[in-house]
Amino acid sequence: MLFGFHWDLSSPEAFALSILPILLIGMKITILATIFGFLIAMALGLVFALLRGVPLRAVSWPIAFIVEFVRDTPLLIQLYFLYYILPDYGITLPALETGIITLGIQYSAYTSEVYRAGLEAVPRGQREAARALNLGAWRTYRDVIVPQAIPRIVPALANYLISIIKDTPILSAITVLEMLGAAKIVGDRTFRYMLPLTLVGVLFLILTAVAATAVRYLEKKLPRAGIALK
């Protein structure tokens, strides 16, 4: 029994049907972790990207190092780090929250690069023109640079959303019962791994296919010329 659902071992079909509700509860956790992890990654990545653009080296260099370090070390170890170290400093978070924060931190290293590349891809002439028109730094960003950068940034960000979906099973290493964690427990208790694990694979295929379709739709809907923020 898991999450209050019993499994039926009488036949493969009955087994599959009886564990599906368990896996769907796991999927809810998977989706939850993905969405909140992505939100943190988007916000934190923007902070990193902006700090890295600060003309003061005492700020931009350490940030560049942190981003590189986070990007080049495994999610699993970062997960252990936050899960085991934070409680020593009086911060006790449930495993799921720790996992979401770790996903957010890991992917902020990627999203910060997306923001940076998106902003840098706006032609220099645009900045020069804004300057010639006597626009201030704030208005240049709000009305000229950012609207043109958005169509480049959004699809790249959305692709990382799909990557996060596929990284959520790692949270099972710190006892989060998402889809894979739940399937593993079903397997451990029934000694039947093939069906639960294959089902999880199929559910992941469906999740990523839906997300990929949504991303493609979004990409097509975005006006190439840019999106005004007003």
């Binding site: 370090f69 699993l76 170890i77 170290i85 020593d88 596929k166 791994y193």
Partner: protein
């Protein structure tokens, strides 16, 4: 306990991680070229097979693939050791991502090159190896470098099927000594150092290919 005494067990694990990463990066490269070339083949069966492979392994999670190979396969009589299952899962996974790189680079070669080869009566194999590949190879290097790093990071997951790599050594040592903070900091630093070495190696390979082909990779 001082930090130096924690290092040797971690270094043993790091050695395993290095081997796993190298083996699966090489395996992944072979699969990437096979599937990438297959997806540009004239015979629809190859294209379909390559597409199916890429779809399955990019569409599901690496950890699911790893668990499937290690826990589910024994049920139909195929029992893999953690080493084999780990390297196989990592190779299959990174190979699917690499296949997209190979396919994209081959497709990005100017269509005129392909037409010229046809006009000169090159066979498809000659066109691929003598015309398309030399031009496409250098374009693959920057994304391949990123994939190699991704593979190094992903290799930590093999610790979850009890393969004694760096992540496993760290978790093991943490359980025995409870020196959590220094162990995890050292582990992160070791992974970071290996990533830097891997990056440098990929740069060297790219520079070599640049010398051979006389081309620059567009970044």
């Amino acid at each position: 306990m001082d930090w130096l005494s924690l290092l040797p067990p971690l270094l043993y694990g790091a050695e395993v991680t290095a081997w796993i990463t190298l083996a699966s990066t090489a395996g992944g490269a072979i699969l990437a070229f096979a599937a990438g070339i297959g997806s540009t083949a004239r015979f629809a069966g190859w294209r379909w097979l390559a597409g199916l492979y890429v779809q399955i392994f990019r569409g599901t999670s690496l950890l699911v693939q790893l668990f499937w190979l290690y826990f589910a396969l024994p049920i139909i009589g195929i029992r893999l050791s953690p080493e084999v299952a780990g390297v196989l899962a990592l190779s299959l996974n990174i190979g699917a991502y690499g296949a997209e790189v190979v396919r994209g680079s081959l497709n990005s070669v100017d269509a005129g090159q392909y037409e010229a080869a046809t006009a000169l009566n090159f066979t498809p194999i000659q066109t691929l190896w003598r015309i398309l590949m030399p031009q496409a190879l250098i374009e693959m290097m920057p994304p391949f470098g990123n994939l190699a790093i991704q593979n190094l990071k992903d290799s930590a997951l093999v610790s979850l099927i009890s393969l004694a790599d760096l992540a496993f050594a760290a978790d093991n040592l943490r359980n025995r000594t409870l020196e959590t903070l220094p162990i995890l900091i050292l582990t992160l630093l070791l992974y970071f150092a290996m990533a830097l070495v891997l990056m440098a190696a990929m740069r060297l390979l790219e520079r070599y290919l640049r010398g051979v082909s006389g081309r620059e990779a567009t970044r």
